[in-house]
Symmetry: C2
Subunit: 351 residues, 2 copies
DNA sequence: CTGAAAGCGCTAACAC
DNA sequence: GTGTTAGCGCTTTCAG
């Protein structure tokens, strides 16, 4: 086992290895980088390898990029790494894809602060990043900070008002459709949708998907089945009475948090899920969806893929034209959906 | 407004600026770095500034570190950036503190994969990071990957079995004490604790804190008040009957998820919170604690501070000796705690 | 098969 | 006040 040496004050350089092995720096470079086309004798190779090992040589990546001209960094700016679990998935996807191509992630969390954002972009520009991924925690239109134009960039989970800017976002319409299909497929015909009150691409998209799925299933869109509530637990809880009044046998909620609040209200009204009412959410927010009672069927936001696809676009790996790419949102089936009850849930309401 | 030029294939260099301004690179360096002690005429300064602006010059941070010898990176390795919201807070705290001192964060998510972990460490070492923060998503003892010893490092949210290794972890005992005090302070004397079944520093620490707080309040520790359950919603839900059988008027749960599950079970038994039973959790997992009904009083895990304090230790800013530093967990009061009911909750149980 | 030399972008000494 | 030189650690011609 190698000795646990305190980190060297100054790391070993290629020249030191060269001296130790009795060869030139060039030779060390050649073997360290596994250039197989280089004609190095087996014996020299061995000596160099041994010296590298013994001295604990780590090539200086910064010096490399200096000579090669191109750095191996990709910057990732997020507006809310700390306050939501979503950014983590974007980072994860971006990192996996970046590493695959030899890039490291330089990340910056701005919590929406514009000054921090400018600083982050400067920092990345000065590190000569290959490009910048600019991401937001919820899907929305976004301003593009002036200095971002100095870099090659792609928007993640947000999009620009100006045309031609590369962006990768979730396909809300397809997602809304998938959510609704989960219900329609079970034979439900009275499917309610509790939309958000807050304007967002998700609001319009998820509604459009709902209508499309209804259409696909040969069901007429009935506006009385579409409610609105603030997209969190409190909103869902507050929408229960109104929902039950519609006589729906199934409901698709704008997001999982809303569904969780709905669960609470439903329980108070003695309505069981999925026995009396089938419920689906949206977002697949693990800590909620997988652990409420019963576990919630939902549609996943493809954050991991958003990050991965964005890196591919940045690197020019997918020869796609400019503009927005929509990534599909897969359904995640758990236990909150069943066939319609013979009688509507209204019968079970407490006096 | 500056023109939106496509990112230059090759960024502007100091030499180009020097030529454009009709001065030497040294002069440009001097004004770009705002060396005020350098004697540069106002006129030259202006010319250089103008050239920098016009060419969109960004100093190459990588070249700088090459000459200065010390890089401006701090590496942060996390085992679960994607699957929990916690890593985000650590990153946030680490970044804020790092930036304050001119460092950028190089992050890597390993999802517990040892190969990825080794790769991450190699990558950071090759980028000559100032040091590495090695973090875990839940507080635990951790193996130290062999190559980590090549760097200056501090453990975050985990600790080593070997002595003398710098680590920063939450103070579980103080946290457990704070949680219990929330209840004792209201006059509760029969305070139950639902601990985790899973061994962890948190399990022992939170129990110790509970006992200490009982002691402080002059309450005897009664083992029948300490239950155990798996630390998630299902566990909390399943512990309800047993809990009610103890006749406790207040309960402190190992974590928020458990408390959320407990809420569900309590509701089914017709036990109201905090009317019949006061509840406190642990972790302050926002999406749960702040949005259940009623909002849950809990104790916050200081992830932000863990990250910030770790950076300070790495940089040697706090002249603390080696070893583990415990960061305190502040209580977060919401609405799940009230005074004891005159009659115990058992009276309210359904037949 | 291997080495010497030049140069990536920048800063630090030291001239002038 | 400002320029020249050297060199950070590395790779890349190009010789030999």
């Amino acid at each position: 086992m190698k000795e646990r040496d305190t980190p060297a004050r100054r790391p070993t350089t290629i020249r030191e290895v060269a001296e130790a092995a009795g060869v030139s720096p060039t030779t060390v470079s050649l073997v360290a980088n596994r250039k197989e086309d280089a004609r190095i004798s087996a014996e020299t190779r061995r000596r160099v390898r041994e010296a590298i090992e013994r001295l604990g040589y780590r090539p200086n990546a910064l010096a490399k990029t200096l000579v090669s001209g191109s750095s191996r960094f990709i910057g990732l700016i997020a507006d809310a790494i700390a306050t939501t679990p979503f950014a983590g998935q974007i980072i994860h996807g971006a990192q996996d894809e970046a590493w695959k191509h030899g890039y490291a992630l330089l990340i910056a969390n701005t919590e929406g602060n514009e000054q921090l954002e400018r600083d982050a972009i400067s920092m990345m520009l000065e590190h000569k990043v290959r490009g910048i991924l600019y991401s937001t925690w919820f899907h929305r239109a976004s301003e593009i900070p002036e200095s971002l134009w100095e870099a090659d960039f792609v928007l993640v989970n947000c999009f620009a008002e100006v045309a031609g800017v590369r962006a990768v976002v979730p396909d809300e319409v397809q997602g809304g459709r998938a959510a609704t299909e989960l219900l329609a497929r079970q034979g439900h015909t009275r499917i309610a949708f509790i939309n958000a009150t807050t304007p967002a691409p998700a609001k319009d998209g998820r509604l459009a998907g709902y209508r499309a799925a209804l259409d696909d299933a040969g069901l007429a869109f009935d506006p009385t089945f579409t409610l609105e509530a603030y997209p969190d637990q409190e909103g869902g809880y507050g929408a229960v009475s109104e929902l039950l009044d519609t006589g729906a046998t199934a409901v698709y909620c704008y997001n999982d948090r809303m569904a969780a609040g709905l669960y609470d209200g439903l329980r108070e009204h003695g309505v069981s899920v999925p026995g009396d009412l089938s419920v689906v959410g949206f977002d697949n927010q693990e800590v909620i969806a997988a652990h409420v009672r019963p576990p919630l069927s939902t549609v996943a936001l493809p954050h991991y893929d958003l990050g991965a696809v964005a890196v591919r676009r940045l690197l020019g790996l997918d020869d796609s034209e400019d503009g927005v790419i929509k990534v599909s949102c897969p359904a995640v089936e758990r236990e909150s959906v069943g066939p319609p009850a013979s009688a509507g849930p209204a019968l079970h309401r407490r006096p």
